[in-house]
């Protein structure tokens, strides 16, 4: 349903993404893992054109785009088929929780106020924030803000939801509540592309893991194939570091 072909992105001389090919089927949960600075987030942001790739093409449903010749209208269409959950939540600070979820539906999808309200309440109920409708983002904890932002993304009924390190800015006590919500979203059959450092969570919910290093995809496959049976030395090295650190902390 979503496929990216030969995506390249350079900042001046520096090539960040070196020809990425990815396929995501409907209902897939694809998780991008890898060391910091390898372009996982950049790749995710290319999908809805928050970053401008140098070359490459993307297919999303019936939309077929070449990044080099993309028009403003195509960018809007692409963004309206996707939704993004940011590391820093990025809720509209001047709007209450309910307004944050309602407004995009009214502006982007031209829904009526009543329709938008009902849908928003439903979504906010799912993420457990039905009692916070009139709060402003600054009055909520990080975990609550992130759950609002998930509700805002889902309320638009996108074809794919992009999660950009959704728990990295949260303190450890709040990570659980957000992961629980993401897991529920995954189980509901939503197509997801996720960037995370929560390895055990990735292993649990993903249908496909993509391991990236230095702007390339090193290896991809089902969670078991990557986490347990990988023979690729770079993948093993990365995962060993990860598990060792974890032991160290515990």
């Amino acid at each position: 349903m979503l496929s990216i072909r030969d995506l390249r992105l350079s900042f001046k001389e520096n090539e960040i993404l070196k020809g990425i090919n990815i396929d995501v089927n409907k209902g897939d949960v694809v998780t991008l893992i890898g060391p910091s600075g390898t372009g996982k987030t950049t790749l995710l942001r290319c999908i809805n054109y928050l970053e401008k790739p140098t070359t490459g093409s993307i297919t999303l449903g019936d939309l077929n785009l070449n990044y080099e010749k993309i028009t403003k209208k195509e960018i809007l269409t692409l963004r309206r088929k996707t939704a993004m959950v940011f590391q820093q939540y990025n809720l509209f600070k001047n709007k209450t929780v309910i307004e944050n979820v309602m407004e995009p539906q009214m502006i982007v999808q031209k829904k009526s106020k009543i329709e938008a309200y009902e849908n928003s309440v439903e979504q906010l109920d799912k993420v457990g924030l039905i009692d916070k409708l009139e709060s402003y983002p600054s009055q909520l904890s990080g975990g609550q803000q992130q759950r609002v932002s998930i509700a805002r993304a889902l309320a638009l009924k996108p074809e794919v939801v992009l999660f950009d390190e959704p728990t990295s800015a949260l303190d450890p006590e709040l990570v659980g509540e957000v992961l629980k919500v993401i897991e529920a979203v995954a189980k509901s059959g939503m197509t997801i592309v996720l960037v995370t450092h929560e390895m055990s969570f990735a292993q649990k919910i993903s249908t496909k893991i993509v391991f990236m290093d230095k702007g390339n995809i090193v290896e991809e496959g089902p969670p078991k194939a990557i986490f347990e049976d990988s023979t690729n030395p770079r993948t093993k090295e990365f995962l060993n570091h990860f598990y060792m650190n974890k032991l160290h902390v515990v």
Binding site: N48, L50, L76, R79, R80, T82, A83, M84, F86, Q88, N90, L91, F92, K93, N94, K95, E103, P104, I107, V108, E134, S135, Y136, S138, Q139, R152, L156
Partner: protein, 244 residues
């Protein structure tokens, strides 16, 4: 001190207030509109126009308003004549033109940082949801930019009020011009009383404009959050909301 004299001249000075107010209101509104255009173009980082706009802003902000007044008053008719328009400009028109051109630059240096103070994440959120650039500006950026810009704009209005005390130098009979005339007829008697009355009058004008701005601030989202928090007595994260 002659209080009776102050009470006597007060209505005479007040009678010229409409001229001052007209100049303030027209140049504030048109100056703001000009500065919005200037800010918009400056933020686009245009290759050819950009440096010219920076020069314009730098020049207007760095030269005394008195000099600018003279330049416009004496220069504008010459400029128009060289362009083939044969028209006369009154002193009031010259004042208004000078103050608009000045405020276009000055206010732009209030609006530009206010725009830049809105976090990048807010832009990205709106973009990722599929807002058009105009929808993003109207619904997300403008409401957040306003409370940041308002205190600066309020100060600018106060400065504008003060700047109008210079327009008598090119012959406008405003408060200061009227005072000059009365004093001249009076052989320069009661100077202190006269200037004190003028000071009080300017104070009054600024007080009104100040209250208006405070009222506007009250309706922006930052104050809304504050009011709500007091009402709820809930714990508020003292996060970057306290921009002022």
């Amino acid at each position: 001190m002659n209080i009776g004299y102050m009470i006597e001249v007060f209505p005479k000075l007040l009678a010229t207030l409409p001229i001052t107010l007209l100049i303030i209101i027209v140049s504030a509104i048109l100056g703001l509109l000009l500065s919005i255009g200037v800010t918009y173009l400056r933020l686009k980082n245009l290759k050819i126009l950009g440096p010219f706009l920076e020069m314009y802003v730098s020049f207007m902000r760095s030269t005394p308003i008195l000099i600018q007044l003279f330049l416009v008053f004496y220069g504008l008719p010459v400029l128009m004549r060289s362009l083939g328009f044969n028209m006369d400009f009154g002193a009031i028109t010259s004042c208004i033109v000078a103050l608009i051109v000045y405020n276009g630059a000055y206010l732009s240096e209030i609006l530009r940082p206010a725009y830049l103070a809105v976090e990048k994440g807010q832009h990205e959120a709106a973009d990722s949801l599929g807002y058009t650039p105009f929808e993003k500006f109207r619904k997300v950026i403008l409401p957040q930019l306003t409370p940041i810009a308002l205190p600066g704009l309020g100060n600018a209005v106060v400065y504008l009020v003060h700047d109008t005390s210079l327009i008598f130098t090119i012959g406008v009979v405003d408060i200061m011009g009227q005072a000059k005339l009365i004093l001249a007829n009076n052989y320069g008697e009661n100077k202190i009383e006269m200037y004190l009355t003028i000071a009080l009058l300017y104070w009054l004008v600024c007080l009104v404009s100040d209250r208006t701005i405070k009222l506007l601030e009250h309706f922006t989202y930052l104050k809304k959050i504050e009011r709500k928090s007091k009402f709820n007595k809930s714990k508020v994260n003292k996060e970057p909301v306290s921009i002022q």
